[in-house]
């Protein structure tokens, strides 16, 4: 399975490419209907997106998206749906900001403490859902969604001036982190690239190694593909559910840190929300693969950043949201089409080899997870 098969790799690329083409085509139709020239819109988005300062913004955004999508993907690979990444990262960022601002430590230790706090808080918050699933039979979809609300309310309570927050020009936020808690970035001609980008990439490598190269990863994927088979081969499914929720939540805890450590240095009202949900879309598009997710994150970042130029040129920038929606929808459809086509072609090949005249059977709905 791990042997490189150019045929497989080729087909893995066909689906997202198809999805992208469909999304561009549909957006073009909408643009034409609205009376705008699609090529002009796409060209100005591209020209704007490759300007140095916008490239920096795209990379910085993508680093958070990437972590979020990895957190979601860990669950996906195990057939678990962690819809609570949004609540997990916000609560984690809030706690990390409060604790980070309250202590004074030498640089690397300070950053390490903030990172550890964020990971632990994220893991605990997701772990609650894991516990409820294993011992109380609560669907993790329901519990993680509900925990988003509880997490939001909890963070909001902590974010009142009476508790942890300070007030600055109508904005409530936690006190600023001392400079020893700032993650040094890379200065470029277009501004500063978050240093945390490196951490994001390392988490990606860790994800690839853990899932593809370790016993734990094998158990996790096996459980996702077929629970009875995993149980039969001696996997403790309950333990795996809790472990993977903790892992997913731990990674989710990191999602807010690129911004917290690299730019805002505090958690406040202007801290971006919703990255957890973006992560679901990106994980789907990137097909749970660390490299696929990286490309998907950058694409998402590009779309999010470059839509501003449309506004300036009088083209409704909501076209980008439509595009993002169609990409997600189309990618799922495209994978299904490619899968059926592959099953058909394999059957045809086998049939040809056997020399039998029988027609290929129609592929039924698959029962296994994570084909790519």
């Amino acid at each position: 399975m791990s042997r490189f098969d150019p045929r497989r790799a080729g087909m893995a690329l066909v689906a997202p490419a198809m999805a992208f083409v469909v999304a561009v085509a549909l957006s073009s139709v909408v643009l034409v209907v609205a009376g705008h020239a699609p090529m002009t819109a796409f060209r100005s988005m591209f020209d704007f997106g490759v300007q140095p300062d916008n490239v920096v913004n795209i990379v910085n955004k993508a680093s958070g998206y990437y972590l979020s999508a990895l957190a979601v993907a860990i669950g996906f690979r195990m057939n678990l749906f962690n819809i609570g990444v949004d609540g997990q990262y916000r609560l984690a960022a809030m706690c990390a900001a409060v604790i980070g601002a309250a202590v004074a430590l030498p640089g690397p230790l300070h950053i390490l403490l903030i990172v550890v706090v964020a990971v632990i808080v994220g893991a605990i918050w997701a772990g609650i859902a894991g516990y409820l699933k294993v011992y109380r039979g609560v669907s993790e979809v329901i519990s993680t969604i509900m925990l988003n609300y509880i997490g939001t309310a909890l963070a909001a309570w902590m974010l009142t001036p009476a508790v942890f927050a300070t007030l600055e020009n109508n904005i409530v936020k936690t006190p600023d982190l001392p400079e020893s808690g700032w993650f040094p970035g890379f200065a470029t001609s277009g501004g500063e690239v978050y240093g945390f980008v490196v951490v994001s990439a390392l988490v990606g490598v860790g994800y690839w190694f853990l899932l593809g190269r370790t016993r734990f990863g094998f158990d996790l994927r096996a459980t996702g593909m077929s629970e009875p088979a995993a149980v039969a081969s001696g996997v403790d499914v309950k333990k795996m559910v809790v472990a993977s929720m903790l892992l997913s939540g731990g990674v989710a805890g990191l999602v807010g840190l690129p911004i917290l450590l690299g730019a805002s240095h505090s958690y406040g009202q202007d801290f971006p929300a919703g990255i957890g949900f973006t992560g679901i879309a990106i994980a789907l598009l990137g097909r749970n693969h660390p490299i696929g997710i990286a490309f998907a994150s950058v694409l998402w970042g590009f779309l999010d950043v470059s839509n501003q130029i449309l506004d300036l040129e009088g083209i409704p920038k909501e076209i980008v949201t439509i595009m993002q929606g169609t990409i997600v929808l189309a990618v799922v459809v495209a994978y299904e089409v490619v899968r059926r086509w592959r099953v058909n072609s394999e059957q045809r090949r086998v049939a040809a080899q056997l020399g039998g005249p029988q027609a290929p059977a129609a592929p039924g709905p698959a029962t296994t997870a994570g084909v790519a």
Partner: protein, 354 residues
């Protein structure tokens, strides 16, 4: 798994499509046509290009942003200025706001006006990078930036007046306040409303609820929860509710209609913008004249003597007030004008914190 994955994809796509629908009509962007009002009408001032960046919701929110848009439209009509307006996206970062302001400054728009205090951090950075451009921010003050003007309002003074009106109109001696989000700015509204109501009737019962908590201030755009909260308040005996909740106000009005009670609008004259069947329940609105602030600022900039520092638009400057359209407060106008006079004269000091 595949079926569930598809389900999520559909959900994700649908929610994005909905977000797109809710994004307002940013294609309403327009520039003054050369055939429009000529700059000569403005008294010989130089024709200027105004850039304006909206808060989430943008033009068409029937509330805060629309008020700024009205000021912009008036500036175009009366002064003949050109303008370009850009809108914000849900869940964006400071870097996105920075990019937006930079786009305007780079495009030669001067002055550049940002609507909403969330632009504070990004404006500070962009203003430093463009020292020859004039910036203004609604609802905030940016310290240490000489080319940024803060356009702020005495919301507590306006809220005091509608508090007086609510208490005078209430038969049950029980009124309500619904805020969109539990943030200090909205607590200013609450403080003024409470003080105003108590000035009429010291033992009046005042119910206070907020629809959402920061950082997720969705309560400004959640009519359903507005209806729900208002239902609860009316059921608990209130007969007038002040809805300081942006787009959620419509939900409060619907509740008021269903229960045949009264409600008070916010920011712009919501009697005018409400649907015909809801008009009777909007007894007055607390006006926050963002349009006046935006217009006055542009006018001064056009005349070559821009407003600088912190500009507080209070009752005295007609920056805040109450609306009388619909005629429901005509019978208590004398008391309202009396309260207004006292605040303007300084004999009544309205608290700005609850």
């Amino acid at each position: 798994m595949r079926r569930v994955t598809s389900l999520f994809a559909v959900m994700a796509a649908a929610s994005m499509a909905l977000a797109a629908c809710g994004g307002g009509s940013s294609d309403s962007t327009s520039t003054a046509s050369s055939g429009g009002a000529s700059s000569a009408a403005a008294g010989g001032g130089e024709k200027i290009k105004v850039g304006l960046a909206y808060d989430i919701g943008g033009r068409g929110d029937k509330s805060f942003n629309d008020s700024a848009a009205a000021g912009l439209d008036k500036a175009k009509a009366d002064l003949g200025v050109e303008f370009k307006e850009l809108s914000a996206t849900q869940g964006e970062t400071d870097a996105d706001k920075e990019a937006r302001l930079k786009l305007l400054a780079q495009g030669g728009y001067n002055p550049v006006i940002a609507v909403g205090f969330l632009y504070g951090g990004s404006m500070k950075k962009v203003a430093a990078a463009f020292p020859n451009t004039q910036f203004a921010i609604v609802d905030s003050v940016v310290e240490g930036a000489p080319n940024v003007t803060g356009l702020t309002f005495a919301e507590h003074e306006g809220s005091y007046l509608v508090g007086v009106a609510a208490a005078l109109k209430s038969k049950s001696g029980n009124v309500g306040y619904i805020g969109g989000c539990l943030i200090p700015l909205l607590q200013k509204f609450e403080a003024g409303f409470v003080a105003g109501a108590k000035s009429v009737k010291a033992d009046i019962k005042i119910q206070v609820k907020y629809l959402s908590n920061p950082p997720d201030c969705k309560g400004f755009n959640d009519p359903a929860s507005g209806t729900e909260t208002a239902n609860g308040m009316y059921d608990a005996g209130a007969d007038v509710i002040f809805a300081a909740a942006g787009g959620s106000g419509t939900g409060v009005f619907q509740s008021a209609k269903a229960k045949t009670k009264l409600a008070i609008g916010v920011d712009s004259d919501q009697y005018e913008s409400a649907a015909a069947d809801l008009k009777p329940v909007v007894m007055t609105s607390m006006l926050k004249r963002v349009d006046v602030a935006v217009f006055e600022y542009i006018k001064a900039a056009q005349a070559g003597s821009p407003l600088t520092g912190v500009q507080v638009f209070d009752l005295k400057k007609d920056g805040v007030g109450y609306s009388a359209s619909g005629g429901q407060v005509d019978d208590i106008k004398a008391q309202l004008e009396d309260a207004k006079g006292k605040i303007v004269a300084g004999s009544v000091k309205v608290p700005d914190k609850p």
